[in-house]
């Protein structure tokens, strides 16, 4: 059984595991697999002091109701996602980008029981009984992963009644969970799927220093959020640097109104989180010895923050400027947690070596910049320069339109590097929207590349996906055909779209 660990032990374990990992966010998951799967089991309250004290049952401490013990049920809104039915399928003749760095011409990809079972050249054997699709002239990639989305929490239509993405009532709202704001009928999910997006990280907005928990979802039609939830994916914690928190709260004459106010806010919160962790550690230690102990009062905000300190929740940090990223790195060291990814990161190119050294991914757009001061130095070559410095590079959307063409976005970022002779290949750049976001989201053991054993999240493109003319033709989630541009039976429409002008059509 996985015990709750003290913050110090976690920091040490993290440091050890991080040293061994590449792009680095897998460190947070550890060898035991995804964090949520390895999260502490429900405290065996009924066994009380575990018998060591030899006291009678009548003297044992009373069990805590599960809702009052943060360890009792770390997954109170569990995923009900089940892969849709699939038939074993093989593709022949396509150009395959595996997102492991390989490009296979005239390649074969086999999917069986929702998993990738074979990837290789034209001689790769195809088992009997498998439906074979001739994909000559097409390109095949892993399903696109958008690591920064507000679909569902800022859905279409964008009316105030559905504006659920920013709990902008306090600079620290680590207690809120984006999944409780997701409206699964957001028609934006359908559009994103038609762009090849099979997995999304849905984040709270950036009004606050701590915006709340993000959640990772499979991009499948569902009537409930739970039906989309990616099984076993770790949670993220949305943090925000820079202009937004100080503008929102400074405008109300509250802290933070300055960059230094932001930093004081982060540090204060981590001190409180460590204190909360210590109180629960002390309580458990006493309880396990059969000593009398009062349980601390559960605090949802500190639950999330302390789970970051334990390495169970991944920090997803909105941060535009390079110098601010450097400050955030030091704060993480000061309190012993890990930043999984900087989001937006318009100035990643100024701190590429730092990101590479600290094993922190960065996610950015190709060229969305200059709309505010902290993005004024944004450049098209941002991703390419930081990539060249060895940083784990991710292209994200943060937008319901851009998410539909992350392939183009990655292509523009790649071209900006190649314009100055970087020689970035498609086999490499495809990682920016597949394998690398999977790492930053802690789901890279399950998806993000075409490798045997992984979930069969697959996109068949009409042509080279880095071309402006490319379209996602078939999109598979866990081996199941989830979208087909050529077959209306596989073009799901959200409840909202029914009976509307154009009937929610988004196909030619």
């Amino acid at each position: 059984m996985v015990e709750w660990r003290s913050a110090a032990a976690i920091a040490a374990a993290l440091a050890a595991s991080l040293a061994a990992t590449g792009c680095a966010t897998t460190g947070a998951s550890g060898p035991g697999g995804p964090v949520a799967a390895a999260a502490p089991k429900a405290a065996p309250a009924k066994t009380g002091g575990s018998g060591k004290s030899g006291k009678s049952a009548s003297e044992a401490p009373k069990p805590l109701p599960p809702g009052l013990d943060p360890a009792a049920n770390p997954d109170p809104f569990p995923s009900t996602y089940k892969p849709a039915p699939s038939t074993p399928t093989a593709f022949k003749g396509a150009t395959v980008l595996t997102a492991t760095g390989a490009r296979i011409d005239n390649g074969v990809v086999v999917m069986t029981d929702g998993k990738i079972t074979a990837v290789g050249g034209p001689d790769t054997p195809i088992p009997a009984g498998v439906t074979v699709i001739d994909a000559t002239g097409k390109w095949i990639t892993p399903g696109v992963i958008d690591s920064h989305s507000h679909l569902g929490v800022y859905p279409s239509p964008g009316v105030s009644a559905r504006s659920d993405g920013n709990e902008a009532t306090d600079p620290n709202t680590a207690q809120v969970w984006a999944e409780h704001s997701i409206w699964p009928h957001d028609p934006g999910f359908d559009r994103a799927r038609a762009g090849g997006v099979t997995t999304l990280q849905i984040l709270p907005g950036s009004a606050n220093l701590f915006g709340g928990r993000s959640v990772t979802v499979r991009n499948v039609p569902s009537g409930t959020m739970q039906g989309m939830k990616f099984p076993g994916a770790p949670y993220g914690l949305k943090m925000a640097c820079g202009e937004n928190p100080k503008r929102v709260y400074g405008g109300r004459n509250r802290q933070p109104s300055t960059a230094m106010g932001n930093v004081a806010g982060y540090r204060t919160a981590w001190i409180n989180a460590a204190d909360y962790q210590r109180k629960w550690d002390d309580y458990r230690a006493k309880r396990d010895k059969g000593e009398k102990a009062d349980p601390p009062k559960r605090d949802l905000q500190l639950d999330t923050l302390s789970a970051v300190l334990r390495g169970e929740i991944l920090v997803q940090n909105h941060c535009y400027r390079g110098d601010e990223m450097a400050v955030m790195v030091d704060i993480a060291k000061e309190f012993g947690y890990k930043i999984s990814m900087f989001h937006h990161a318009s100035e990643a190119y100024k701190v590429g070596p730092l990101l590479a050294k600290e094993n922190i991914c960065f996610a950015t757009w190709a060229d969305w910049q200059g709309f505010k001061m902290e993005s004024y130095d944004g450049i098209e070559a941002n991703a390419a320069i930081a990539w060249k410095a060895g940083a784990c590079t991710v292209i994200h959307s943060d937008d319901a339109t851009i998410t539909q063409r992350l392939n183009q976005e990655a292509a523009v970022a790649m071209a900006a590097g190649n314009r100055i002779g970087m020689g970035i290949t498609e086999a490499e750049a495809i990682k920016w929207i597949t394998a690398n976001p999977a790492k930053a989201m802690g789901i890279d053991k399950q998806t993000g590349s075409l490798e045997p054993g992984k979930r069969a999240d697959v996109v068949v493109w009409t042509r080279n996906p880095f071309s402006v003319y490319a379209l996602a033709e078939k999109v598979y989630v866990d081996g199941a055909l989830t979208y087909d541009r050529t077959d209306p039976r596989y073009q799901p429409k959200s409840d909202f779209s029914l009976g509307q002008p154009g009937e929610g059509a988004f196909h030619p």
């Binding site: 800022y154 504006s163 190119y349």
Partner: protein, 450 residues
């Protein structure tokens, strides 16, 4: 790579320093020429420029003796692209209010963007790097969009930094201007080319409802007519009370006289029909911007000869006025015979994506050359710029040489000519790029000179 960088840096410096004499003809050779005119594409041809004009174009044309020859190396030459409605030169940083000169403030139709045009905007050289050589600078009603939901720039909440001071914006956003995007001190080619007007949800926000907005607009146009008929009565205070100030009425006079179009921002099919009716009844010319449900009324738009400026990527029911938005809006409008101009959203960086938007429209059924025209010839036609937009003899030499297909993700301009003058590549974003792409030296990067 470093060598390449240094070399290209030196080449650029030389290019910027060299006096580009208009007197010397220029011949662009070894190029695929996309004329955006009836000649279509010329697979391998030559364009000759002299005195700022295109003097010859074709497959069999020879470079004249003494001409400076630019070898396109098998690339593509297009007309300079034209941004059909943009904040270029009047907005540097969206969220920095002090850099925003695209809003009317206390005025309405009378606001005139021409006086705020900033030729030193860092976005001018950047725009040339996406092939844009001219822009129609159009005022916006309030903050003008841009940004993203995370930052709250889309009006979801109060986090927008740029919308300050427009608590009660007017229906009429003000008067537009045409600018060239060359390395010059005075960019304004023509002012007062349209009066911009927001209807639909945006207009309803100001007036209270769509109906109220249209009544106010009709009333304003009638006031402008009455004002124009008898200015002296107005000066003597002998007219009835008008809803707009003298300044605003004055701006609407050329509109009601049919000399200047209204640029009407509208999305919903029913609202588009209302605008067509307004145009008919008031006898005013209109250009539509937005029109994401335009495909539903394509035949009516074609019959009324009303052109539209669209962002073909709009396909979300993001509001109740874009429920029918589709990715083939451009293709369907074009097929119906509507003159379309393609642009990004108002956000500058999306404007830069106009050529990619045209490419995406091709993926959704718009013929390739129609897509090229939608960012060049059509925009010129919509705005009455008869001297640009195509590669034809006699036209102003606004030309872009591309490394490949200009609608693709993987290409860039290798040379940009405006008025026959090759433009310097002095782009702030490139200077930042080159500073940080180079290996770190002994001293801080801030010592590296561009």
């Amino acid at each position: 790579m470093i060598r390449t960088l240094m070399f290209s840096g030196a080449a650029l410096a030389a290019l910027a320093a060299a006096p580009v004499a208009l007197a010397q003809p220029i011949a662009i050779v070894n190029a695929r020429i996309e004329t955006a005119a009836s000649a279509g594409a010329i697979a391998n041809g030559v364009v000759v420029v002299d005195g700022g004009k295109i003097v010859a174009v074709g497959p069999a044309v020879k470079a004249p003796a003494g001409a400076r020859v630019i070898d396109a190396k098998g690339g593509v030459v297009t007309p300079g692209f034209i941004a059909g409605s943009s904040s270029l030169t009047v907005a540097e940083v969206n969220a920095v209010n002090e850099t925003r000169d695209d809003r009317a403030g206390k005025l309405s139709a009378g606001f005139d963007v021409q006086y705020g045009v900033n030729p030193a905007s860092t976005q001018v050289p950047l725009a040339r790097q996406v092939g844009v050589t001219r822009a129609i600078v159009t005022p916006v009603r309030s903050q003008g969009g841009g940004g993203h939901k995370d930052d709250g720039f889309d009006g979801h909440d109060e986090f927008a930094g740029g919308g300050v001071g427009d608590a009660d914006p007017p229906l009429f956003a003000g008067q537009a201007a045409v600018v060239k995007l060359s390395d010059d001190e005075d960019l304004v080619l023509k002012a007062k080319v349209a009066v911009a007007l927001d209807l639909g949800e945006s207009g309803a926000r100001t007036a209270g409802s769509r109906g109220a907005a249209l009544v106010l607009v009709r009333s304003a146009l009638e006031d402008a007519r009455a004002f124009a008929r008898n200015r002296s009565a107005y000066e003597q205070g002998a007219t009835r009370e008008f809803g707009l100030s003298r300044i605003d009425l004055e701006a609407l006079v050329p509109v009601v006289q049919g000399r200047t179009p209204l640029l009407v921002r509208v999305e919903r099919a029913a609202d588009i029909r209302q605008v067509l009716r307004l145009a008919r009844e008031q006898n005013v010319r209109v250009i539509l911007e937005g029109a994401s449900e335009g495909w539903l009324v394509a035949d009516e738009l074609a019959a009324a000869k009303v052109p539209v400026l669209i962002d073909p990527l709009v396909n979300l029911p993001d509001s109740f006025e874009t429920l029918a938005a589709r990715l083939d809006n451009a293709a369907r409008l074009e097929r119906a015979g509507v003159t379309i101009g393609i642009q990004g959203s108002r956000d500058f960086n999306n404007l830069r994506q106009a050529r990619l938007n045209a490419g995406t429209a091709v993926a959704y059924g718009l013929p390739y050359q129609a897509a090229l025209k939608a960012i060049s010839a059509n925009v010129a036609k919509i705005w009455g710029l008869s001297d640009v937009g195509t590669i034809e003899t006699g036209k102003t030499a606004d030309l872009v040489i591309w490394s490949g297909d200009p609608l693709e993700t993987s290409t860039w301009p290798t040379a940009v000519l405006i008025g026959g003058v090759e433009q310097p590549v002095k782009v702030r974003a490139f200077e930042l790029r080159d500073r940080y792409a180079a290996p770190e030296g002994a001293r801080p990067r801030q010592y590296t000179q561009p």
